[in-house]
């Protein structure tokens, strides 16, 4: 107490502040400690380990043997299933992401209107996403069954068209899985876009109406630009999620028919946990990571051209 009285006032305040700051720091680190622990154990550690494994021949449970770029060379030259699985995934992503965003955008626009029973419709669109993937896949397998399923039944009775094999057709299996993803993911994406829509200030539309803009012009010049950050977010996360397609194919077709639905992660999973080629599978995982990283960076770079933020364009002209 005496010591404090003898110190000049500014120095006293500085001492008190740093003690408070130090205590605050300690509490901060304490609260984020669970995440730091999880980050080291389940993210950093495994990432470094799998990078190391990717350069080894690792037939579990034997010990890993260093082979340098051997796995990567094998992937790009000797493994026939590598290009197949990659193509299947690219096909799937290339269709399901744009179609998914379009569908969810349409649903969100529909839900943005003041119609009776709006919560009911909104819930209905969201419901399929709650269904477990396994159950959804079985349901679709049943409905799209070529011989006695509903879809082919209607195609025949209403239009006299002989429906395709859907899940058991090498050509149609990917589109069928894309349909499944549209059904299951349309709802949550709709919710996100809807939130974005409802954040657009109404005055913009009023001003446009005064200027004589019609419905389509309002959509193109107000809705889309103001929605572009949300659409960007949805595209980036959608792309990353779609690249990891696994469960639906594993459950419904096991990768068939004739590797028609043999997606990249399915290939990875098979190599890792059926053939126990942990080294090769790790290389496959890192290749996937790099691909996703590059695609995401490309999207960010392109964002400067079409994503509009209130504060101005993302990329200033240099």
């Amino acid at each position: 107490m005496n010591q404090a009285q003898r110190l000049p006032l500014p120095a006293l305040r500085k001492q008190k502040r740093s003690k408070q700051a130090l205590a605050e720091e300690r509490w901060g680190y304490l609260f984020i400690a669970p995440w730091i622990l999880g980050f080291i154990i389940f993210i950093v550690g495994p990432m470094l380990a799998s990078l190391y494994f990717s350069f080894t021949q690792y037939s579990f449970p034997l010990t890993p043997r260093w082979i340098g770029l051997g796995n990567y060379i094998q992937a790009f030259s000797k493994d026939e299933l590598f290009p197949t699985s990659l193509w299947n995934t690219v096909y799937y992503v290339g269709l399901s992401v744009p179609l998914g965003v379009l569908l969810s955008l349409a649903l969100a626009l529909l839900m943005d209107r003041n119609i009776p029973g709006r919560p009911i419709w909104r819930t209905i669109y969201y419901l399929p996403s709650i269904v477990p993937t396994v159950a959804a896949a079985f349901l679709f397998l049943y409905i799209f069954q070529p011989d006695y399923g509903l879809i082919n039944g209607w195609l025949w009775r209403l239009f006299a068209i002989e429906g395709p094999g859907w899940f058991i057709s090498r050509v149609w299996v990917k589109p069928t899985l894309i349909l499944l993803s549209l059904w299951a993911a349309g709802g949550p994406t709709m919710i996100i876009i809807l939130a974005g829509l409802q954040g657009i200030p109404g005055e913009l539309y009023d001003a446009a109406e005064v200027d004589g803009a019609d419905r389509w012009q309002k959509f193109l010049n107000i809705t889309l630009p103001m929605l572009s950050p949300t659409l960007f977010f949805v595209s980036v996360t959608g792309l990353i999620g779609a690249f990891k397609i696994f469960s639906a194919a594993y459950v419904s077709t096991g990768g068939g028919p004739f590797y028609g639905s043999y997606f990249y992660v399915l290939h990875l999973f098979t190599q890792a946990f059926r053939h126990w080629n942990l080294g090769y599978a790790s290389a496959l995982a890192w290749i996937l990571f790099v691909i996703i990283l590059i695609l995401t960076l490309v999207q960010f770079k392109l964002a400067g051209r079409w994503v509009y933020y209130e504060s101005g364009m993302v990329d200033e002209p240099k």
């Binding site: 605050e24 720091e25 901060g28 680190y29 609260f31 984020i32 669970p34 995440w35 622990l37 999880g38 980050f39 389940f42 993210i43 495994p46 380990a49 799998s50 529909l110 209107r113 119609i115 419709w121 209905i124 419901l127 399929p128 996403s129 709650i130 269904v131 477990p132 993937t133 396994v134 159950a135 079985f138 349901l139 049943y142 409905i143 011989d147 006695y148 509903l150 039944g153 009775r157 059904w183 349309g186 919710i191 996100i192 939130a195 974005g196 409802q198 419905r215 950050p229 690249f243 990891k244 696994f246 594993y250 459950v251 890792a272 942990l278 599978a281 890192w286 996937l288 990571f289 995401t296």
Partner: protein
Amino acid sequence: MTTRSEAGTLQSKHERNARTRRQRVSGFNLLVSLLTVALAVLFVFPLYWAVASALKRPVELNIIPPLWFPPNPQWQNFIMINDTIPFYRFMWNTAVVTILTTIGGVLSASLVGYGFSHFRFRGRNVLFLIVLSTMMLPSEVTLIPTYLIFNQLGWIDSFKPLIVPAYLGGGAFSIFLFRQFFSSIPKELNDAAKIDGCNPLRFYLSILMPLSIPVTITLCILYFQYAWNDLMGPLLYLTSLEKYTVSVGLLFLRTQALSSISQRGAPTEHLLMAGSVLSMLPALILFFLLQRYFIRGVIMSGIKG
């Protein structure tokens, strides 16, 4: 103000235009409303079909033209499915894993989010950026070593690999949501608590969390759905039948249990659909009960940022 006699033609032209405009507008609205209903039917119909099929007898399943209503609802299918495989056990297992995971995730993520939002410490912004970037990390890149870790620990064929990770941070997305929400709490609350001598933990328990019920409930729903529907985790880490969760159990039902029955030629979709319907129920019920909070929580958390 035009009079009838002088500008009769002009007035009636106005009237005609107004009428056509109204017709055009309601024509568009009608089309859009039809679209709304049509899409809703498309979205909900498969769910209806699952329930209807679950209540049919095998002979009623695959006939042409299809039966829209099960003529004799076979509620016993929901019991029979448990005779084929221990399905109720699967549901119990899944409930245990899901509830423990949800508690861990919400607890962990809220504590971490609290740390990032209410405290200043060195490296805070960098660390939070790292949290965000892990949201984009494909889990495949950590899958194999994580499996090896659990193998070393002897945790294979137990629920621990599915539950424990949720307690260590709970997932970047949840941390992000909590942190965003906590940041929006006015600073005065914090200062007032500090003056009253409230320590950070008590502040978290008695003030912060009670204020965050919508976000917490939203995340509970999301965790619940994620954990309940998870396939990859149980597929990897559960090897004995009695420990299976619903997703692996359903898969097992189709690939092994039912294929031996259907060798006799009888359709088995009624059991598959019964299992599927049962597997959907908990998440559906939870969603319906807590819908209000869920939508509010999504909006409150400012997801579009």
